[in-house]
Symmetry: C2
Subunit: 576 residues, 2 copies
């Protein structure tokens, strides 16, 4: 039976209850939005007793629909001060759904700071002692939990950064083989998990079941149609070969690749860090190296990779676009090995690589390391893990670091570091960074994919574009589907409606879903307004409106009033 599991970290109580009527058709990001609005005071301290940390599989979580196992993690963000949903692949989401957990809601905060581990299975929910894991890196934590509980378990863990409640901390999980480290990275939800005193959550799904839905036959049929369309997606081959790193060179050509603390949009060492170079290096080195690996069971896209060092030993998995951009060109790092070194450190300490790339850029501008100096940058990251005073500054994110170091050029919107798309050269993303309830986020409405239809350098048409992309993002993040599964849905929007209808019953149209997504955005915005955060009091960083970005020489010039039109537009009822 499906259930809502509530964990009180103060009393230790773990209680399951049937899914209430108002949650019956909710999932993922949408469930988080409604639950936060209903249960959490928006003005609460994100690291205090009143905030909640919510884990919610999507609408299609637990089903056999391809790529449907992504997990939404949410709460009030210590980074943005608003609501946050961060989305992650790996196995844990699917397993939670298969033991019937529609949502796991972590409440209150413990009196002591010694972190514990939560164990959930079909028939048992309990705390287990994990004191030896205190202070452990993510990689070792995952390995030891797999050893202790079995490799069939799904895992959600934090690293030292989350334990220290640092606002750049994420929540990590892994793939079926324990090779990938995947992150619900953004918004500092690892710090919220740390403040709840939880080091790890172990999900044992033995005895669990595939979710068959209200209309099992219908769901199976649509699911098959969806899988076939996915396999026929012309982008499949590129994604399997290069993963997200396939866009590194394109971003550079478009002049939007963050380079040396967002001072340029293209990087002279581009050929050394491109997707082609990545695939070539992996193939040449062999050993643990792999391209085209999945992050969750049965994924047909398989965009992940294992990047090996020169000896063929796994260094980081996966090496992806955002981290190549932020930890690479943005830090002036000219080799994939250098990027992999920094990325592996972030992964092990439990840090969001995007935020840390922004942080390191600010630190480099302040003179704490030279651009391109991997060892100096790695030392800075290590200081975060050690909790030195400097580490405690850097671990709190780019805005915090800028303030502490007296640097005004901070690439952040709404408190969160800007991902790998400089808004001066991809103006639709500027609109999303400012207006999205999620702050500057690479998955909240990314205009990179629409660069062919909307001129990325012009302010024209960007609000309309961002509006549509934000709706799409809510739908993906609520369904549990991967962003890379969007191709078939763009081609046939009602396919998503059929999948959701098969899951929950009823004859749904895409229009119903789009209206629901628009409502979710409004719920999130209402939470943020009540928390004191509003797109009406927000803009891109000041310097991006005056300092022009090479090579195009553009500044960010979408008018603030124009951006706010996003919320005055009806959602499209036909276009995904």
């Amino acid at each position: 039976m499906e259930r809502i599991v509530r964990v009180n970290t103060r009393t230790g109580a773990i209680e399951a209850s049937p899914v209430p009527a108002e949650m019956e058709r909710l999932g993922g990001r949408q469930l988080i939005a409604h639950t936060m609005r209903a249960e959490v005071s928006p003005i609460c301290d994100p690291l205090g007793r009143s905030n909640r940390l919510i884990f919610a599989p999507g609408w299609l979580g637990g089903t056999s629909v391809a790529t449907s196992g992504r997990l939404s993690i949410g709460g009030k963000s210590p980074l943005t001060g608003g609501i946050k949903e961060a989305n992650v692949g790996g196995e844990a989401g699917q397993k939670l759904a298969r033991i019937g957990v529609r949502a796991l809601i972590i409440e209150d905060a413990p009196k002591t700071s010694e972190p514990r581990t939560l164990f959930l299975s079909q028939n048992e929910m309990k705390w287990v002692d994990s004191s030896p894991l205190t202070g452990c890196g993510v990689w070792e934590t995952l390995a030891r939990l797999r050893e202790r509980f079995g490799s069939h378990c799904g895992l959600l863990v934090i690293g030292p950064a989350g334990e220290m409640r640092m606002a750049a901390a994420g929540v990590a999980t892994t793939d079926p083989n324990g090779i990938q480290v995947r992150y619900a990275a953004r918004g500092g939800l690892g710090a919220v998990m740390g403040a709840k005193g939880i080091k790890a959550i172990v999900v044992d799904d033995r005895g669990g079941e595939i979710v068959r839905g209200a209309d099992p036959d219908g769901l199976t049929d649509t699911s098959r149609r969806f899988a076939e369309a996915l396999l026929a997606d012309p982008k499949l081959e590129g994604r399997r070969k290069y993963g997200t790193s396939g866009i590194v060179a394109t971003a550079n050509e478009l002049g939007l690749l963050p380079t040396r603390a967002f001072s340029a949009g293209s990087f002279e060492a581009i050929d050394e860090i491109s997707g082609a170079k990545l695939a070539e290096t992996i193939a040449a080195r062999g050993g643990d190296g792999r391209s085209g690996t999945p992050c969750m069971s049965g994924c047909v896209i398989r965009c992940s990779n294992v990047f090996p060092d020169a000896n063929g030993v796994r260094k980081v998995a996966s090496l992806q676009y955002e981290n190549i951009a932020l930890l690479g060109s943005n830090c002036g790092v000219e080799t994939l090995d250098g990027i992999a070194e920094l990325n592996a450190l972030c992964n092990d300490l439990g840090l969001d690589g995007i935020e840390m790339g922004c942080v390191l850029g600010v630190a480099m501008e302040a003179g704490l390391a030279s651009f391109g100096d991997v060892e100096a940058a790695a030392d800075l990251l290590r200081q975060i893990g050690e909790g030195t005073p400097l580490g405690r500054i850097l671990g709190q994110g780019a805005v915090f670091t800028g303030r502490a170091l007296g640097i005004a050029r901070v690439p952040a919107v709404n408190g969160q570091g800007i991902p790998g798309y400089d808004p001066r050269a991809l103006k639709g993303n500027g609109v999303t960074y400012v207006t999205s309830p999620m702050g500057a986020d690479h998955t909240a409405g990314n205009a990179f994919g629409t660069r062919g239809t909307i001129n990325p350098l012009s302010p024209e048409g960007q609000p309309e574009n961002s509006r549509a992309l934000q709706i799409r993002s809510v739908l993906l993040d609520s369904s549990g589907l991967c962003l890379f599964a969007r191709g078939p849905l763009v081609a046939e929007p009602n396919l998503l409606a059929d999948l959701v209808g098969g899951r929950f019953g009823g004859d749904l149209s895409f229009a119903d879903l789009a209206r629901g997504a628009a409502e979710t955005l409004e719920v999130e915005r209402a939470f943020n307004r009540a928390a004191g955060r509003s797109d009406e009091t927000c803009d891109v960083p000041e310097y991006m409106r005056t300092e022009s970005l090479p090579p195009h020489g553009t500044v960010y010039d979408v008018d603030r009033e124009e951006m706010l039109k996003v919320w005055k537009m009806e959602p499209s009822t036909t276009k995904f």
Copy 2:
């Protein structure tokens, strides 16, 4: 002729222009509110190019009215993120007014970070090189400027904290004899001055004139009446003898004295840090020690003191209530010598003693020093001056420190550290901290003085009380009059109207002034709302609503909705 002086720190231009019609009757805090609203984008970076730093004498600045020389300094605060006015005695305000400067408005930001000094006199306005002062402490800076420009000049300076753009940095000035260090302490305006690249402002008022006003005879008459009433104020003797420290023992008795990181409201070593002990120590030690000294020429109240060390050598001037509370009992410091040591360090580094007392309490709770350990606390303060990573955390204020150190018990409202009145035992102040546009501020509407008429432990009647006190605070901060000059105005509110009428002309009533003050508050609130700060999204710190405060065992229990009623009340048109 009266003028508005605008300084562009980017181009170096210094320009004077006649006071425009819309500013003709504006002064002090009120002038700052209207100018910020008219000229500054509320969402600007407080340390960026768009913020302004405004120095404005009050309505009565430059006149011969007693205590009328207080100076308002304002801008967008890096600490609260909203508008801020900080008010200071000393000589600079009066001298600015006497060379006809109604407001000095510092604009833009320089490209280089080397701070400069601004020199203003009746006939000359220029930049002077002051590179040898870079990094200098406040005390040495004041001394060297007095030596270079003459002791007749008024001075406004920042210390290393302001140069490093730390959000706990204030702006310092001195008395006619260069003995007192007085601060426009709150809100981090020293960091704004640092960001404007200004180390010091020298005001040479030779050739300047007393401001006689539109009705010189009327003003002289009323001024005399006001001075007589001040001299007859029954509180005069106590203020001259003890200064603000006279309330230390009372605050302790009332159980509202911040003690050991706001964990108690009374302090067992109270007899060692009381006003009586202070006066007794000063008298016994002799030497430089003085009680009853003025901070500005001709003040009849003379609430300041010079606290000497055991050898009679000036240690700090003045030692005042807020710093005794925050750097003393709140840090568990049991001796006046210990408090004086910490206070002298704050003064020299250019830091707000209130904010630093809150910071040290948080740092002590985090285990960085033991409560009562003066030397460890002094070392922490020295690190701020040295700009070590830990110092760069602490210098940013209590909220920043709490985040970096993972401490949830942070005594701050709206980003600013709580002054010497725990709102759990003086509930009117909680209303002011939350609703005042100034954040938690000891002068924005302090209910300590009304404890006899409103039960400080009850939530009843606090919004009404705070409302009236906030109006009073705007009137004092806009007039240039000292808070301690309020006695005669409370007794006869129209006295203030007569003073202002004498200054600007017209037949004013107190009702006119009260309505104007209410309008000023609305202008400030509008700025804050547009900056994303609102009392509707603010509360006292979470722990103060659940953790009871000894000895009374009370929590803060004024309902949030109740607090917001402050803004639904008409201002009293008869009561000051």
